[in-house]
Symmetry: C2
Subunit: 221 residues, 2 copies
Amino acid sequence: MWPGLEALPWRWAGGAALALGLALEALALLVRGWRRRRAPRREVLFFPSPVTCTAALLGEPGPAPCLCPLPHGDSPLARLLRRLLSARRSLELCLFAFSSPQLGRAVQLLHRRGVRVRLVTDSDYMVLTGSQIGRLRHAGIQVRHDQESGYMHHKFAIVDKKMLITGSLNWTTQAIQNNRENVLIVEDAEYVEPFLAEFERIWEEYNPANYTFFPNKKEQK
Amino acid sequence: MWPGLEALPWRWAGGAALALGLALEALALLVRGWRRRRAPRREVLFFPSPVTCTAALLGEPGPAPCLCPLPHGDSPLARLLRRLLSARRSLELCLFAFSSPQLGRAVQLLHRRGVRVRLVTDSDYMVLTGSQIGRLRHAGIQVRHDQESGYMHHKFAIVDKKMLITGSLNWTTQAIQNNRENVLIVEDAEYVEPFLAEFERIWEEYNPANYTFFPNKKEQK
């Protein structure tokens, strides 16, 4: 049975609905693929980290490949450095203790590349021997610190306002090489946004304009 | 123009394609809704926490509502307690310092309810005044500790093998009430599974059968 001319509009309607259905499915597939490509990064690093050579990562002068006797493979510290060094625009740091020379060099490198670095730290720990804070300030990086009886005990970084790096790890060589520690790399907005808000809140609160010069000394551990 | 009878199959094909498209869209909506209902919990708690009454949460005897002078509202500590107390089967704890009486009571309550509690801690910090470790051991909870020169510096809990609670917060009253701290509540498998594996690795490694009785004393902070 061959339909008459008068049936053509229905044939077209059927074909059009089918085509529309297929187009919608194709679009859904595309969106799903795009979402998968842009899925938030979720990664965990555990420490202690074996000591590996980080010279190449930190762009240090010398022969390539580096001839130092350290192993040149991957390590949790190398991964942490790579995540930090991916910063292109901004780096917020909120760190209880910061004495690791490698992490200090990474932050200075980002500052020299024009990344806007802001650092909040703890007033007690920043004056300990080996602290990187003096060096970073000397290099021109903005640093603010607490003036409270409690510790500023956070240990997090936010890269380009979209990647949170947080965990138990203080940025010290002791913690990196000797302790059991964890670091989470997080891109989910449910975590990144509250941490960014916490950083901005603390940054404003620790504005030097608010410092008193006779703070209550810390009394408790 | 009204189509002839012979056009009906095309009309049906068009209608069927449309119905199929609509059914597919409805199914996609249902799946999306179901996924949303089962979306992993993602929450951040910031400390210091105001001191609030936790008696009701901890099932302590006394009048209800409690007549103590503390505020009875919500707080980061109350939220942390609620998440912990949601455990029905298992609780893995990997804690550098544990001296908070409220968190200690919550862990004992779970143990009494029949939840399987296992605790890993740091050998230096567990002997400090106020530590909850002795009490928890006395209550029959399994505890293992490190014997290393570095610290067991993790601060995480895993509830029913599906919810990770981790961050900078040591489980001490000082940290809860005075420090700037963070705690993430996480259900994404990309984080929960590696932490569970890390717990099992440490639990086996700290098996008392492996203890030596003349460990190297810790030398560094």
